[in-house]
């Protein structure tokens, strides 16, 4: 063997070993993570880049954007704190039955999107559910089961057809006195989408936002792999139902275990059907993945109320939307395009038939 070949061989062996031992010699990116309490939950943003100061600045700007949306949509703004003047939703509700209110582009857009889903679902998604939410105490009061008579009285006020939008004036008017909109089923997703846009605009290529369980990922992970996102088991928080692989997508879960109270052994959770004013009973949890986080947020509520059968029909009609249902019957059902995005974990509690 020639001497030349020998050195080449040794050189290659060393390369191989370095490869095997992991790329610890390659420069690692800067990772910056920050958490803030926002929109009634905890929001965490983790972003990667080359310069720590720049990444930090981007993350803080994203939080500022979310804070802005929080203030615009705060239904429970406090008088005398300056919050009231800033909260479009508070002002819209105060002016119900009286006059139209001029609002920000953001709130106008959210209400417009909400109305479009009201129409698409024949009223199964309705942001005018506010008075009924308050009756149950899912706003910010003591939670309790309302009397049927009380419920009927408030249900009259639930009707998104009575939200009058004026596109050129950017005004919103609730026609009946006592009507209240609640943007709880869209605001968090919208704010997350806005925060993600801020990160992208500042040049961030790899980031993950977790807004109280609503996940939005930007790009791939720094190592080029898809982000691996677990779906929580709705009955055992220590387990996962499955693991999603996401690239540039949002995943939002709605579940009956997120906000609830129990009375006489029955669970009353916060996702109310706009048809009955009572907690919807078809679903334990539903996870939606799609590009836009606001859309994912709305759809998770819509599909939760619809249940897996009707819900899947809707998902199959929508482009770029996939869903995974954990039904009240302990059946896991996924949409057709989900199979290459999720690994369902084997479990004794739930049954899963990949072919539907």
């Amino acid at each position: 063997m020639l001497k030349k070949h020998r050195s080449l061989f040794i050189f290659l062996s060393i390369l191989l070993i370095i490869g095997l031992e992991g790329c610890s010699f390659v420069a690692t990116p800067v990772e910056y993570t920050s958490e803030q309490f926002l929109m009634d939950t905890i929001v965490s943003i983790k972003a990667y880049g080359n310069d720590e100061e720049e990444v930090k600045k981007a993350v803080l700007s994203a939080f500022a954007e979310m804070k802005r949306i929080e203030r615009l949509t705060d239904r429970f703004a406090q008088e005398g704190t300056g919050e009231v003047e800033f909260s479009d939703v508070y002002r819209i509700n105060q002016a119900a039955g009286k006059q139209p209110v001029k609002v920000s582009e953001d709130v106008y857009e959210m209400i417009e999107v909400a109305k479009s889903y009201y129409e698409l679902t024949d009223g199964l998604f309705d942001i005018t559910i506010g008075p009924v939410m308050d009756l149950w105490g899912f706003g910010n009061e003591e939670k309790h089961i309302p009397l049927d008579a009380e419920l009927q009285e408030k249900m009259i006020l639930v009707n998104s057809n009575k939200i009058i939008l004026n596109e050129s004036e950017k005004t919103v008017f609730l026609q009946e006195d006592g009507m209240k909109i609640d943007l709880g089923a869209i605001a968090k997703g919208y704010a997350t989408e806005k925060a993600a846009s801020v990160l992208v605009e500042t040049g961030i290529e790899h980031a993950i936002i977790n807004a109280g369980g609503n996940i939005d990922v930007i790009g791939k992970k720094y190592d080029g792999q898809a982000w691996r996102i677990g779906i929580q088991d709705p009955r055992n928080s220590k387990n996962l139902v499955g693991v999603l692989s996401l690239i540039d997508e949002a995943a939002v879960t709605s579940g009956d275990y997120q906000r609830y109270f129990e009375e006489n052994g029955i669970r009353y959770h916060h996702i109310l059907s706009p048809k009955t004013g009572k907690p919807s009973r078809n679903t334990m949890s539903i996870t939606v993945i799609t590009k836009n986080s606001a859309k994912a947020d709305v759809l998770s509520t819509v599909l939760f109320v619809m249940g897996s059968q009707k819900g899947l029909e809707l998902v199959e009609q929508l482009e770029g939307v996939e869903a995974c249902f954990v039904g009240a019957d302990n059946k896991i059902v996924t949409s057709s395009g989900m199979s290459n995005k999720v690994e369902i974990q084997p479990s004794k509690e739930y049954t899963y038939d990949k072919n539907g």
Partner: protein
């Protein structure tokens, strides 16, 4: 290829493999369960739960008042917190990597860090 060449090659490969196992070994060492407690996003306590021998209470000042957190060997929970809906207390014990207890009103988060790096986050 001379005999010396073969010995040299084998030697290089072997030492590489030994180094590989040493590195991997160091990585997987310490199956520690570390809990971190955050107030308003800042870490105020870091506890290695696997090293806790006797149960103890931690008093943590949050945004609204005092929260009491109980620590045992390998697990942690919220015992008292000045919040109306008691979501954090009802959450019970947490022990696995990735689990968390959040008290939104008092702005306290208890999280278990761990070696589970197969998951980046959880949608819930």
């Amino acid at each position: 290829m001379t005999k010396m060449d073969k010995i040299l090659m084998l030697g290089v490969l072997l030492s590489g493999l030994i180094a590989l196992f040493l590195v991997k070994g160091f990585h997987s060492q310490g199956q520690s369960v570390v809990a971190i407690i955050q107030v308003k996003g800042d870490i105020v306590e870091t506890i290695d739960l696997s090293k806790v021998e006797k149960a103890k209470d931690l008093h943590i000042q949050g945004a609204q008042g005092l929260s009491i957190i109980e620590v045992e060997n390998s697990r942690i929970r919220m015992v008292e917190s000045p919040c109306p809906d008691r979501v954090c207390i009802n959450r019970g014990w947490i022990e696995r990597s990735g689990e968390a207890i959040v008290c939104v009103p008092n702005e306290i988060v208890i999280k278990i860090k761990g070696n589970d790096e197969s998951i980046d986050d959880i949608t819930q």
